[in-house]
Symmetry: C2
Subunit: 215 residues, 2 copies
């Protein structure tokens, strides 16, 4: 059965997935970009931004796993766009004319909008019927492949509370943010029913893979 | 200059240093003992409880570092003892007649009590004048060696807020607790001014060493 998976979700040593004071200029919050430094040291990460070079090895392997077998992506409106005014048509995401998804992307929002076809196979669809409807549409679009849940934090927490995430790869990176937005927060009792099925580390990230236990 | 160091402080993947519903029967909270499983797989950890065997390697090395060059220990009252009634004289800690410290231990409490000399060199002193006084007395007793801050969580948070911890070794272990007591919490803006100086992992724990940056 097709799965809903989270990949390469970076958190600081103190559990933050974004720094404090997020803004248009600083969408990941103060210090937050350091969470993703490891990505841009990998070959896959550099290719994603059109750059050469980068390391192979464990971190790169986890990057590669995040696209393998994925047929659609779901994301929250904050991951798709900044403040409301800028977000509405003609805003088409942070990723330029050819976003790195190359498959249907379902954006969860309260604001209906026509789908937008980008270059390279990415089509943004806007879902106003909630997280379960988004998952249903994404699974259908993925046509047997898995669905990746991109983020942000609040959207992942919604799916965790609903028990809908099957697998979750978290990369713990060696920075201390002190404040910001925690990944494992607002969970009404926690990411209950998940167990760690993989735990390996590079000097740049400790990779944790959590899987939902079958009940 | 002698330092104040935290060692082998275990937290779950979601940042908890103890599980929920701590009690006399379950001092580490529901699921909390799993945080320390890695300790009892090491040779040093097994020796500490009088058992043979155990693995050498990275985890054991970190255990050994936690006693090297330490001349005194500080702990909060919750780490020393359970509820008030049982804690007062003649309660002498969780560790039996010969506690594994073998040096002066300063217990921070609101309740004055005469010092207690145990077998094997451990002497429990009870400090009612606060965390700075405890540190001062421990540094004096350590006579040039470092002081180890044992715990629990609330005591470590007090010392972090005061900026008094020089080095901190946290072991992130591959369990998800979901609820409980977080290490990096109640910090009024975070463990500001600490940087990661070491980040290595075994299959049982990702070892993080944080050091206070010089200002």
């Amino acid at each position: 059965m097709a799965k809903l998976r989270v990949h390469n979700f970076a958190v600081s040593l103190d559990g933050y997935a974004a720094g404090p004071d997020q803004s248009l200029d600083d969408p990941l919050g103060v210090g937050g970009t350091a969470l993703h430094d490891w990505v841009f040291e990998t070959r896959s990460g550099r290719r994603m931004i059109g750059a050469d070079g980068g390391d192979l090895g464990l971190d790169d392997e986890f990057m590669a796993r995040g696209v393998a077998g994925i047929g659609a992506t779901i994301m929250g409106r904050n991951m798709f766009g900044p403040v409301r005014g800028a977000w509405d048509d003609p805003w088409t995401g942070w990723w330029g004319d050819e976003p790195p998804f190359h498959h249907p992307v379902f954006v969860i929002t309260h604001h209906a909008r026509a789908s937008v076809t980008m270059q390279g196979g990415t089509v943004f669809h806007f879902v106003t019927a909630g997280i379960e409807a988004a998952l249903e549409r994404a699974l259908e679009a993925a046509n047997g492949d898995d669905v990746r849940l991109g983020g942000g934090v609040a959207t992942i927490q919604q799916y965790l509370r609903a028990g809908l995430i099957d697998e979750m790869h978290v990369a713990i990176v060696p920075v201390v943010l002190g404040r910001g937005e925690r990944l494992f927060d607002h969970l009404d009792g926690g990411p209950d029913g998940y167990e760690c099925v993989e735990f390996v580390g590079s000097p740049r990230a400790a990779h944790v893979r959590l899987a939902r236990m079958r009940r």
